[in-house]
């Protein structure tokens, strides 16, 4: 086996003999130590011509390495092929230079001896190493410049944005009419979004540079979760979704964690769940996975009955600047940095994030984190929850995902009641002249009825178009029109 390997190596070296720009000097020699071949680099470096060098004794060029035994045959001092030999090579004019060399030899089946020396001038290695160090330093500096640049740019972007947001808020309170207030709200919304985007980019670059440090403080867990829920409950209600919160009762009340980082993870997953779900439920489930004297491992699940993610899209999910589909970015907004940041934060807390999803039925994002326990003892206190539907349960009685995705599956009785609910909400929002909300409920209805009947599809689409028109033109005819269409739809529904 070894011989075959060597054969291949020697063949390869032979193949490279004709190449001109190698840095190695390659010399082939026979059993008597007589040079049989030399590559172009060798000829050049050693100052011989190709004809002169063939027939020379190898010991004349590379001294100290070879000796001749009593039979007049070549022997090395050291034959270990893995080790490099440090020696001196002599040029034709008897000047010399340091080399680092490898020597190998083989005896073919018909007893032909081939030896090979492969040598590199040490100063070349040194200069290569030096170049490497320079390149590494350069890279390090570039990275530093890059992260400084990102930090500076984001800061510079944030400064004027703060001005915009502040003054918009000011302007809002200065007694504007309805149309002006609506414009101001749009400006505010855009500015807030941009702020989020900038913060994400800043966090991402910090995480990339390894500069994001966790600040572990004692945290009251029930209060913490209640805050998370409070952040999202408005959006959930507005979209007509239902929030289910399940917290295992054996979770310690006091834990040590970086609240900001953990809330970023949860907020991100929760807002995704809300964003991508049109009807049904969003569920946050928290369990205790394991506990030791010093540490507690918590398992969080965020389950939705939204648009879902296909297997193909799952692989791209946690990469930076990727949303499953470019069109998703445009429909739902976002930088595509959120999940990448989430993943890195989870990993910083010694955890891992998982995703399970069926396209069209919903997704489950789950992650575990290992947190230090606080000195204070006691299990989670349910009285701290202001959100009323919270279920504090022992770990084993948790809901399964099937319980929530059933609600939104197409064609089930639940579907008709969902349509019904949305129609009702639509009617109420119309009474209140809130056409934007009304449009949202109409979109929900459209999604629910899609594919059932072409006529119904068309009616709902017309309704949506009309509603959008009412956003800027609130003539009575349009309102009547909407009401007529709405009654058509409900009639169709009850048939």
């Amino acid at each position: 086996m070894e011989i075959t390997n060597l054969d291949i190596i020697i063949d390869r070296i032979r193949g490279e003999l004709i190449q001109e720009n190698t840095i190695e000097i390659v010399l082939f020699f026979n059993e008597k130590g007589i040079i049989t071949e030399c590559n172009v680099t060798g000829v050049k470096k050693l100052g011989y011509s190709q004809k002169e060098i063939v027939g020379k004794y190898i010991g004349e060029i590379l001294t100290d390495v070879f000796s001749i035994d009593e039979n007049g045959e070549i022997a090395y001092k050291e034959i270990d092929a893995d080790d490099s030999i440090f020696g001196v090579m002599y040029r034709k004019n008897m000047t010399c230079f340091d080399v680092q060399a490898k020597v190998a030899s083989k005896l073919s089946e018909d007893n032909v001896y081939t030896g090979v020396v492969c040598a590199v001038e040490t100063s070349l290695i040194k200069s290569a190493e030096k170049q490497m160090t320079i390149a590494k330093e350069e890279q390090k500096r570039t990275e530093q410049i890059r992260s400084e640049f990102v930090a500076n740019v984001t800061h510079e972007l944030r400064t004027p944005l703060n001005g915009i947001i502040g003054h918009v808020k000011d302007l809002r309170l200065s007694g504007l009419d309805d149309t002006q207030i609506r414009s101001i709200e749009i400006i505010e919304h855009c500015a807030d979004n941009m702020m989020k985007l900038i913060n994400n980019i800043l966090d991402f670059s910090k995480l990339e540079a390894g500069k994001y440090l966790l600040d572990e403080q004692e945290c009251k867990f029930s209060k913490f979760i209640d805050n998370i829920v409070a952040t999202h409950i408005k959006n959930i209600d507005e979209k007509g979704l239902r929030l289910i919160l399940n917290v295992a009762s054996d979770i310690p009340e006091y834990i040590m964690c970086d609240e900001l980082a953990l809330s970023r993870i949860l907020n991100n997953l929760m807002s995704n769940a809300v964003k991508f779900t049109a009807v049904g439920n969003v569920m946050l489930q928290i369990m205790k996975a394991s506990e030791t004297d010093d540490y507690v491992e918590l398992f969080f699940m965020v389950i939705d009955s939204g648009i879902g993610i296909s297997d193909d899209e799952k692989t791209k999910l946690f990469k930076e600047f990727s949303q499953v589909d470019a069109s998703v970015t445009r429909k739902y907004g976002g930088t595509g940095l959120g999940l990448s940041i989430t993943k890195q934060l989870v990993e910083m807390m010694n955890g891992k994030i998982y995703v399970e999803s069926i396209k069209g039925e919903g997704s489950t994002f789950s992650f575990n984190v290992i947190l230090k326990k606080s000195d204070k003892i006691g299990n989670i206190d349910g009285n701290n929850f202001t959100f009323t539907d919270v279920a504090l349960q022992a770990g084993e009685h948790m809901l399964e995902q099937s319980d929530i995705s059933d609600v939104c599956k197409f064609g089930t009785p639940a579907n008709i009641s969902e349509i019904h609910k949305n129609v009702e909400k639509l009617a109420i929002t119309l009474e209140l002249n809130n056409f934007e909300k009304a449009e949202m409920f109409a979109s929900n209805i459209k999604e629910l009825v899609s594919g059932q009947s072409e006529e119904l599809d068309k009616q709902v689409f017309k309704l949506i178009l009309t509603l959008r028109k009412s956003n800027y033109d609130k003539s009575v005819s349009i309102l009547d029109n909407v009401k007529r269409l709405l009654s058509d739809i409900t009639k169709e529904e009850f048939r």
Partner: protein, 134 residues
């Protein structure tokens, strides 16, 4: 006059629908598929007038502006609608590079407006295409 607007960004949609509302009845769609649906619905419903003008964003979900324009032009050819009765199409986008303009023109758009839309220029453009504000 009937106008079809297709724009996925909320803020731009509001702004454009308000602007176009001064020229006539403006139907607002939020993605390419809706735009094509709305166009077909108007075309097939005998009681309704066809659209005179479509303002299409290029980067949209479901179908992009190019695809919408292409579909509309194909339908028009299929139904042999005379050239003077064909819908006028303005493309709007933040992709202001020449290549995008060229592509849009090749598919058959009548004008191309870069974002952010400049109201005065846009008004001039609409005038040139023969549209007057009410």
């Amino acid at each position: 006059m009937k106008i079809l607007l297709a724009e996925d960004d909320f803020a731009s949609r509001k702004f454009m629908s308000k602007l176009l509302g001064e020229y006539g009845e403006c139907d607002v769609t939020v993605n390419g598929l809706e735009a094509v649906d709305a166009y077909l619905m108007a075309l097939e419903d005998e009681k309704e007038d066809n659209y005179d003008l479509a303002v299409l964003d290029i980067m949209m979900p479901m179908l992009d502006g190019y695809q919408v324009l292409d579909t509309i032009r194909k339908i028009e050819t299929d139904r042999s609608i005379p050239i003077e009765k064909r819908i006028k199409v303005i493309m709007t986008t933040a992709l202001n590079e020449e290549i995008n303009v060229k592509k849009a023109m090749e598919i058959g758009c009548d004008a191309y407006v870069g974002k952010p839309v400049d109201v005065e220029k846009f008004t001039v453009l609409l005038g040139r295409l023969g549209f007057k504000a009410n």
